[in-house]
Symmetry: C2
Subunit: 332 residues, 2 copies
């Protein structure tokens, strides 16, 4: 990458701020704009706001003006719901900017939100730019990594991914999202209200299926609490015996009644054996494990930044991790 | 992949024959030609010769004629030395065919054989086709996989790969190539004659370094025998105590006197703990292990076949595993 890539950051919540810290460490990236709707953040230097050095770029609430600046790409971290961020995506693409976003639903919207997917693909192609949803999950551990590992196989019958995390070391919002400290009844209520659940299993399952040429009959998901058998705690939350320590979520892609793709997330305080395991059942069967697991907060932001050079070399349109060049870290 | 890809197989040694078996199992690939210089193979049905069903394609010695057939790509498995296979590569590219080859030196020839690399890149671009060297190693375990795993990292300081194999389960030619059953003096002689050594470390090291933007001062390689402390054996070879059971080969890429990339192959009869481990030292540090290791014979052929669709979507020219779309298995 000989030339500097000019980047605009849109959305300065915790993930957006971490992305600014990371962008500032890459010599080949230059932050040329920052957008947030919060008036309290506007006018501040985005670097200082984000806990890194002053970057000489003020946070603005005027996204139209910032998107008129000369830039290669926008990093968009404003939400998980694709319909809600659609106007922002349209504004970026119409301004001729490629987009990488942590929006989970953007990772593979072709089957569940086909009208939006077509609209984004058409708009991006018309403006000669590319748009991608990525992160650690969806985006890597449960989709792109098993897809890539299958390269070493002559046949694949099924895929299993297990992401087992000790949530005690994660941020408080994550611990809340998995229901740590709730009673089983509260967990049930919050789950039905949509507060407890990892978003992205369906996207990962459909991306794997499309890559492998598998037609799925059904994609199912289940979420259940993990009940503490003994008291446990993080620095934020105390969990008594019988309360929820976190969750176990399983997503399954079925074909002809058989589970072909099984994704399992166990995230709870005090998990005894955190790890990320991918099993490709095939010829040969491969079992790949990252002991201790991949740090989700770091990796989501790293995936976004590391995808920028590959995305800017990809064909215009709505892209996935499976149809851009191999993403990777680069130092210079 | 909606359309069938038409493939020509050039080279029908053990690897070429296994590739024909694998090609015959893929519904989206059609073998339309087969070439070998051995008169004993010419005129035979390539499927029957290769131990699979009759494919209705005769092995030919007339490569010019076969390369005139309508086909998307040639699978080339005729040797490890890039200068020796160069005329064949030129013939394929000039005939307007993309090429995937197991030639180890083709995996990354830009630094060690720059004139050949330029020539191939220019020829492929002129004919609008792409050319790639891949396999399990180089091509995957020691380069593309660590490069892709770095996607989850915000910083990378060093990369280590350990491929530890129990050679007792491999083919006899592999056991001979690692010196199993030789005395230490015979090992030394055969090593100096070039018979004992895995080819591909330098290519993998340079591909990682280019991807990460690292400038290496030096690439070193060492090979030493692993001496049997107790008698050991495969179904082909008996190794007495004090004889060589196999080898340990280490390749290192150094920058400013520091090892940034360290690749280690241990392949000997009776290895107690076969595995493939990648360690990315960085933020975060990732340690990924395939217990038991990846079967080299299957995976090399699978990598070649799985790279075909990605290569045919890549930009024309001399490509590497790091600049084509994510490779993966596909069933339909």
């Amino acid at each position: 990458m000989a030339n500097t890539l000019r980047i605009i950051q849109m959305g300065l919540g915790p993930i957006g701020q971490r992305l600014v810290q990371y962008l500032a460490q890459r010599p080949y990236l230059e932050l040329v704009g920052a957008i947030d709707i919060d008036p309290a953040k506007q006018g501040q230097d985005v670097g200082l706001l984000s806990g890194t050095r002053a970057l000489g770029v003020e946070v603005s609430g005027d996204s139209e003006a910032v998107l008129r600046r000369e830039a290669h790409a926008v990093v968009l971290t404003t939400g998980s719901s694709l319909p809600r961020i659609l106007p922002q995506l349209e504004a970026c693409l119409s301004a001729g900017k490629s987009v990488v976003s942590t929006c989970e639903e953007l990772a593979y919207p072709f089957d569940d939100q086909p009208a939006i997917a077509s609209r984004l693909d058409e708009l991006a192609q018309r403006h000669g730019v590319a748009v991608l949803g990525t992160g650690v999950n969806p985006g890597f551990l449960m989709d792109a990594l098993p897809i890539f590992l299958s390269s070493a196989c002559q046949d694949v019958r099924a895929v299993e991914v297990q992401r087992h995390q000790d949530a005690a070391i994660r941020r408080l919002p994550f611990q809340r999202k998995i229901g740590a400290g709730l009673s089983p009844a509260e967990f049930d209520t919050q789950f039905r209200q949509g507060h407890i659940r990892h978003v992205g299993f369906a996207q990962s399952i459909r991306l794997i299926a499309r890559s492998f040429g598998w037609t799925l009959d059904q994609v199912t998901e289940s979420v259940e609490p993990v009940i503490a058998a003994v008291p446990t705690a993080s620095s934020f939350i105390q969990v008594e015996k019988g309360q929820c320590a976190g969750l176990r979520q399983v997503g399954t892609g079925l074909a002809a009644g058989q589970a072909r793709i099984t994704l399992e997330l166990e995230a709870y305080l005090g998990h005894p054996h955190p790890r990320d395991t991918v099993v490709i059942h095939g010829q040969p069967t491969l079992r790949s494990t990252v002991e201790g697991g991949v740090d989700g907060d770091i990796a989501t932001c790293a995936m976004v930044i590391n995808a920028l050079p590959a995305l800017l070399q990809a064909r215009p349109g709505l892209r996935t991790m499976a149809d851009i060049p191999l993403t990777h870290w680069q130092g210079a």
